[in-house]
Amino acid sequence: MNELRDILSQGAQMSLVLGLAPLLTGFVRKVKARLLRRRGPPLLQPYRDLIRLMRKDVVLADNASWLFRVIPYLIFAGTWVAASLVPTFGNGLLFSWTADLIAITALLGSARFFQALAGMDVGTAFGGIGSSREVMIASLAEPAMLITAFSVAMIAGSTQLPTVAEFMGSDAVGLRVSLGMAFVALTIVALAENARIPIDNPATHLELTMVHEAMVLEYSGRHLALIDLSSQLKLLLYVSLIACVFLPWGTATADASVARLALGALVYLGKLTVLGFVLAVFETAIAKMRVFRIPEFLGAALMLALLATLLRFVSGSL
């Protein structure tokens, strides 16, 4: 009976993240539009876009290889698996021990590796510019993410997200300097990883300012739909991650009842709304950076994360 519930819970989590991801993106877009005093697209527009794209023919560049056609599925699968391993509404996921925080980071790294390769497959200048900038951003964002994971793991004594979430929800934590630094670092990394302002602009199609969009320029139809869906999943993943580590309240425990799980789901939706709203406000308030200012911004995240880890080494209570 328990196993059945665990499997159902894991399945629910997988479909939940997949189903909610476009909604979160739609919500952020809507809020941004309202802040700019525009009406904005309807909340459900991302779903319609995805369905429309799925049904269209794929127009493939003459020179595209088999790898170009496989990569969207690889990116989607990698991101989806990573997203379903982050606790959302409940903590007792059946397969949560499959990958810890470091492995989730690396799984996203795999997705990015293939995405950058896809940018170079057709052999256009724009694909190359996107890939080359993406790996530059990643070369700072990924270490910052890993070191943030170190500092969080050292505080919680575990790299397993359920254990971390449980620890962060307990009274043993209190206010810690290192946690604050880790939070800022993780936020900056999340902005970079999701190609948000001020690192990249998800809405741009001005060639020289785009990074993520340049890499996927040659994609169309179902391939593009999968890549868009993966980006949406990634946004949801990072928002859930921040919620799970820094706002762990209300998450259902491993042996919770169905009602408790439902409450957990409601709380989770609330967290998504709040964080999505904050993201939209932040993006509206700030301008995009020049490409070569990004390293300074991300370098700050890296240093903060390192400082948080060092503080943890120096004193157990900071």
């Binding site: 794929v58 699968a77 590796f113 950058a116 200048a125 890993l146």
Partner: protein, 666 residues
């Protein structure tokens, strides 16, 4: 067991003179590489069965060769067995690859005699149980590989590489010779006697530093790495694979054997030195790799990175062992050994891929390649596996060993010493940076050489490589995947090695639910490569099937969109140098003092605009160049002694004699 191993080594040695004869026959290369394949496979199977089934037996043998009063001692314990597996797996793969690759070699006589001797020498280093045999084999290994580095001796670059290599190899052997001299001062050359002796802590410290210099220069630790990116690419590709994938591991073996086995209990500051060298080696090595455009040189620099990761693991193991936390030491040590194995696999694979490309196009310069995935699909697939594995991405093997190293770093706040508490987080940061750079580096290597459109005619007319080479590559790629999804098997196989060297083992892994690996406790950290692989495969295929079935499976081919610029020349694609430009600007301006000089002709001029990039190797400029200059200066001064008259020579001899007698008298 040891008899089989020694007979196989003897067979390899006997093949060396046979190589001279065989190199004159048309099918000689096939016979020689086939024989090497059989001998190395035998050795590999022997060592593996020893490691798996009789890890607690340490058979030894003494042969009446070498020093007359000492003889040559050999011993096969768990550590030797593990490194024998690494050496001979790499050796077998290289021999299999060479069965097809030999066709691209114009003067086989310059490679064939040295190849089996080189394999034999590496095996003897690992088997040796006395300092004399160890050093002779070590030097033999250097010399035979040097001979193959200069096999294409008409290229000035290779001759220079050979010269630098020979100098650095002599330096390394000198350092090891001194180390053994210190250890042997009261015990003799036999390793068993050295183990039983009790040198003082100060003496052991000096020995450790000397070994770090000696083995480190062979392994390619920064700043002793200068020869490696010159010499490894210069050799024929299967030899490059052996040098990078295997010989650097023999150097790691030398370090482990002396520092963990022969020298008594470690002191914490040793680990500090090793960590301070290992961490920067990892990051600098891969940053250098990112700046290169020669495929084989990228791979050689990336070897330096991986050696840095291995030495970081060893440094952590030393630190924990010194502080008595031997269960964490076992974790760090196992991580390092697993990375030794993994790196041997994927680096050999990548060098084979580079060799296949070199054979098909004659080019090592990435900026003349491109689009090879269309013309060499199988090579491209195997190389892709290697690139993903070396970038430490799940579900392949490179990730497992890095993950274990990170887990050991996360346990280091338990160390009492303050120096280590400050150094280890910094080293962890450097490793994280290295991992991200490695991914960037291999996106570049693969994207520029295999993807895109061909940048030259040779790349456009390349053909798939032969079956033997492909078999070798696919076998290694399969090992990379297996070691990535079933790491528990490999961790358990390493248990006896870890038991011998650090006195403890990691928890038993096989038999855990779903073959998960759990280094300490499940609540702390766990990783399951198998499930990650299955989940990703399942999600990917489900998505593909569902979309093709219910949405659309239609596909049209059309010219590339490229924001509406049609029919662009292949030359406007990103090149290797332009791909790394952002990273060069961010990191290179300090580390390489990189400068870009743009020459823009006036608007009406038909001259092309030029962009020149200046990179400085600060280690070469700051360390090697001054030494070379000082030696040059001194020899210039002494040179006058060559042109003296007989009268002055006699005076010189007389003065020297008087001074000597005075010294003796006083």
């Amino acid at each position: 067991m040891i008899a089989v191993a020694l007979w196989s080594v003897a067979a390899l040695l006997a093949l060396a003179p046979a190589g001279v004869v065989l190199s004159m026959r048309p099918r000689g290369s096939i016979i020689l590489y086939g024989a090497c394949l059989i001998a190395t496979s035998t050795l590999c199977v022997t060592a593996l069965s020893d490691l798996l089934f009789f890890p607690h037996l340490t058979p030894s043998a003494t042969l009446p060769i070498g020093l007359p009063w000492l003889g040559a001692h050999f011993r096969l314990d768990a550590l030797s067995a593990f490194f024998l597996v690494v050496v001979n797996l790499g050796g077998a793969a290289a021999s299999l690859f060479a069965l097809g690759y030999f066709r691209h070699e114009d003067s086989p006589g310059r490679v064939l005699p040295f190849y089996p001797a080189y394999l034999a020498a590496m095996n003897v280093v690992v088997l040796a149980n006395d300092a004399f045999s160890f050093l002779v084999a070590w030097e033999f290994m250097s010399l035979t590989s040097w001979a193959m580095v200069v096999s294409h001796h008409r290229e000035a670059e290779n001759v220079r590489a050979g010269y630098v290599y020979l100098l650095m190899a002599s330096f390394g052997t000198l350092a090891l010779l001194l180390a053994f001299g210190l250890l042997a001062s009261d015990a003799g050359y036999d390793f068993d006697a050295i183990r039983a002796s009790h040198p003082s802590a100060a003496l052991s410290g000096v020995v450790v530093i000397l070994v770090l210099l000696g083995a480190g220069s062979k392994a390619g630790l920064v700043p002793l790495h200068a020869w490696l990116p010159l010499a490894h690419p210069a050799a024929p590709s299967h030899v490059s694979a052996l040098m990078s994938g295997v010989m650097t591991k023999v150097a790691v073996y030398g370090f482990v054997r002396i520092v963990f086995d022969l020298v008594p209990e470690p002191v914490w500051w040793w680990s500090m030195v090793v960590l301070l060298v290992g961490g920067p080696t990892a990051t600098l090595g891969v940053l250098y790799a990112l700046m290169q455009r020669d495929i084989k040189r990228v791979l050689a620099y990336s070897t330096i990175e991986n050696i840095g990761i291995i030495f970081t693991g060893l440094g952590l193991a030393l630190a924990f062992k010194a502080e008595g936390l031997d269960w964490v030491a076992a974790l760090a040590f196992t991580a390092a050994m697993l990375h030794v194995f993994n790196h041997a696999l994927f680096k050999s694979l990548l060098f084979f891929g580079a060799g296949a490309v070199l054979g098909a196009t004659g080019e090592r310069d990435m900026e003349k390649l491109g689009g090879l995935i269309h013309r060499m699909p199988k090579t491209a697939f195997a190389t892709l596996v290697g690139c993903v594995a070396i970038s430490a991405l799940p579900p392949f093997n490179g990730f497992v060993s890095e993950w274990l190293t990170f887990q050991a770093i996360l346990l280091s706040p338990q160390l009492p010493s303050w120096g280590l508490k400050l150094v280890i987080p910094a080293v962890g940061g450097l490793l994280a940076l290295a991992a991200a750079f490695a991914a960037a580096c291999f996106v570049k290597l693969y994207g520029i050489s295999f993807l895109g459109r061909p940048r030259s005619d040779v790349a456009a007319s390349a053909h798939e490589t032969d079956r033997f080479s492909l078999t070798a590559m696919f076998a290694l790629a399969a090992f990379c995947l297996i070691a990535g999804i079933l790491p528990g098997l490999f961790i358990d196989a390493l248990a006896p090695v870890s038991k011998d060297m650090v006195g403890n083992i990691m928890p038993h892994q096989v038999g855990l639910q779903w073959l998960t690996i759990v280094p300490i406790a499940e609540s702390r950290s766990s990783y399951n490569g198998l499930l990650v692989f299955l989940f990703v495969a399942l999600c990917g295929t489900t998505a593909a099937t569902a979309i093709h079935r219910f949405a659309s499976d239609r596909l049209r081919r059309a010219p590339a969109w490229d924001c509406g610029y049609p029919d662009a020349d292949p030359a406007i694609q990103y090149s290797a140098s332009s791909f790394s430009q952002p990273i060069r600007r961010v990191f290179g301006s300090v580390i390489f003092r990189a400068r870009e000089i743009g020459e823009m002709p006036p608007p009406s001029s038909p001259l092309p605009a030029r962009l020149q990039v200046e990179l400085h190797d600060l280690i070469w400029d700051g360390l090697y160049a001054p030494i070379a200059k000082a030696i040059g200066f001194a020899t210039d001064r002494i040179n006058i002694l060559q042109f003296l008259s007989i009268r002055r020579y006699l005076t010189l001899v007389f003065v020297a004699l008087v001074v000597l007698l005075l010294v003796v008298a006083l």
